[in-house]
């Protein structure tokens, strides 16, 4: 319960709440000082309005700074959010071991050559024995790509991916609540007698059985006689875009592993650019699901060791969905570093802009300062006046920047998709609004300080004499 993640989460909320509170306190301070402070605020707003263009130019740095805080946080957050969604789909506690055709076999031109590679039932058995308690499930999969086995029903045909697997596929992929109709595969489908049943994806269901329920209907696989009875239909699922492969779950057909062995045998013939090639793969994938996220890496390491010891060829690959999270975390970190750099630079630029304009304003209004001092204003009254003015400027700049930033977050992914064909995940990060706002207020305080102090320490007599 009190793990690192939770504590970090709470800390970050405390941090952002602190920022918000500090900004509000600074903005409320003049009002707490009574009529004097209120006059300062109205005077500041009035002078802002009077010199609209000048004020705009002087807070441009602030606008850019706050805008970039909002935008960069949104991109960092967007990729993080996407990764989390991704992992939710693939399972953060999963380790995915895949058979890979080794490079030396891929380049062969010999005819009538059967490439044998990949994960074996021996591997599967080994994991079942060696990993034992720390895993929730070990899931074998045989995957026949769509171009190999078209799926038929009556006179309709569809290109579907046929997956031979075990019932706990549903657990590993969180499909318990993903059924539109019927049920998923059960133990009874495997044992004692392998049953010829199938669970189909939503697209397959729609193409083969438009406008009717597929339950109880039979489907066939091209070139085979045996019919499979549909026992379940899955809801539509969003494609996963992990890595380079886009997995379209909606075109999947799930059949019991034993049935797939009996039906399709171990050897698959692939027709590619005229040449017929054949390959023998016992298992295409083994998905190991561990109990805790912290066990993912050590378990993956064990598996990696076993594979490199027993497989002579580089015919396997381990993929960890959790890596996606780390990748996203790195993206977010990069966005934050970029943010810190840009925010820092625009803090400096924005701050100098404000300082410059405030110093000019102090010089321009030296006489006024002298008058106020003669009429009873203390040094603190004068510095409050100029500080308020600086903060008013940066606050307005901050508000403008936040609004522009939010607009950009909404528009940028659309533009990227439309004109640059790039996927740009962005998600508005609410605490970043506080951060940006705090940043604007803080620049006002920091860089308004010196001009305000300078105004306060003018000699009243000199100031009155100033032209």
């Amino acid at each position: 319960m009190w793990d690192r993640q939770t504590i970090l989460g709470i800390l970050s909320y405390v941090f952002y709440a602190g920022l918000a509170a500090a900004s509000i306190l600074v903005l409320a301070a003049p009002f707490l000082l009574g009529v004097k402070g209120r006059r300062c605020v109205t005077a500041a707003v009035r002078s802002l309005w009077l010199h609209k263009m000048r004020s705009f130019l002087s807070v441009l740095g602030i606008i850019i700074g706050t805008l970039s805080v909002i935008v960069l946080m949104a991109f960092g957050e967007g990729s993080m959010h996407e990764a989390l969604e991704e992992i939710k789909k693939q399972g953060a506690t999963n380790i995915i071991i895949t058979s890979v055709k080794p490079p030396e076999e891929a380049s062969t031109t010999r005819r009538a050559f059967v490439a044998r590679y990949g994960l074996t039932y021996d591997d599967l058995r080994y994991y079942q024995e060696a990993l034992g308690d720390q895993v929730v499930s070990i899931l074998p999969l045989r995957i026949m790509p769509a171009e190999v086995r078209p799926v038929l029903a009556g006179n309709r045909m569809v290109q579907g991916r046929v997956i031979g697997t075990r019932p706990h596929y549903a657990v590993a992929f969180g499909l318990e609540n993903a059924l539109a109709e019927g049920r998923f595969l059960t133990e009874a489908d495997e044992f004692p007698i392998p049953a010829n049943v199938a669970v189909i994806g939503s697209d397959i269901a729609q193409t083969l059985f438009p406008g009717e329920s597929p339950l109880g209907k039979s489907i066939k696989f091209s070139g085979k006689d045996r019919a499979f009875v549909v026992v379940g239909v899955l809801k539509s699922r969003h494609p996963s875009t992990s890595g380079a492969i886009i997995e379209q779950f909606n075109n999947d057909v799930y059949i019991p592993l034993e049935a797939s062995r009996a039906l399709l045998g171990e050897t698959q013939f692939i027709r590619a650019t005229g040449a017929r090639s054949a390959e023998q793969v016992q298992l295409h994938q083994i998905i190991v699901t561990v109990r805790e996220m912290s066990q993912v890496r050590p378990t993956a390491e064990m598996i990696r060791e076993q594979l490199s010891r027993y497989h002579l060829k580089a015919d396997w690959d381990i993929k960890i969905p959790l890596d996606r999270l780390e990748q996203a975390e790195r993206t977010r970190m990069r966005a934050r570093i970029l943010l810190a750099a840009i925010a820092g630079i625009s803090l400096l630029v924005g701050g100098i802009g404000i300082m410059n304009i405030m110093l000019a304003s102090v010089t321009e209004r030296t006489r006024e300062i002298g008058i106020r001092r003669a009429l009873g204003a203390k040094r603190s009254d004068i510095s409050l006046q100029f500080l308020t003015e600086a903060i008013a400027q940066t606050t307005v700049g901050g508000i403008v920047g936040v609004i522009l930033g939010l607009l950009m977050v909404v528009i940028a992914p659309f533009v990227a998709e439309r004109f640059f064909a790039t996927h740009l995940p962005a998600k508005i990060h609410v605490p970043s609004i506080f951060l940006a706002f705090f940043f604007a207020v803080a620049v006002g305080v920091l860089f308004g300080w010196y001009p305000a102090r300078r105004a306060a320490y003018l000699d009243p007599i000199e100031a009155l004499r100033h032209e």
Partner: protein
Amino acid sequence: MAVVAQVIDLVKNYQMESVTVPALRGVTLAFERGDFIALMGPSGSGKSTLLNILGCLDRPTAGTYILAGRDVSQLSDDALSEVRGRYIGFIFQSYNLIPQYTVVENIEVPLLYQGRLNRQTRRRCIELACLVGLGDRLDHRPTQLSGGQQQRVAIARALVNDPEIILADEPTGNLDSKTSDEIMQLLCALNDAGRTIIMVTHENDIAAWARRVVRLRDGRVEADYRMDRAA
């Protein structure tokens, strides 16, 4: 008559790099409540220096300044601000109104810094504007007013905190003779109503409105005499 302000052996030196410029070399004067004093003397005689010290804008190098029964010669900057706000009204040669403020807002400024701004005091500001003859110009800004009108606003502002002394530095220096007369009449009326006014001038016919003349020369009192008011 009661003494409202008193300076004893007042010395003021200005330090210019290595040279010390003496501006006041021991001035002793007492100002009575309800008096109207004209401070005269040639240029460089120390009039402005004395007025700045009387106005608590500056501290003397040596000597004592007692205002409203209290030694204010070596107060802190904040305390001096407080004293200015409570006991002193300023009228300047160049009016010195705050340009972005309206007539009423300008009159309010001293109250603002004393934290005494409220509905009642605002009414008082409007009354004062009426008193100086600007009842129909309450929301005008200084640039929309003539020199004489601006000086009237400044006079109203000098009255708003009900000061012990009003200090005027050549109040008619920027005005034509007709407007000058009007302003002097206003100041005399205020003096008749009991206000203590100390006015710097180098014009004899302006000084003629006063009841007492103090002449300075080289930082010393050269002459100090009473006279009957002209007109």
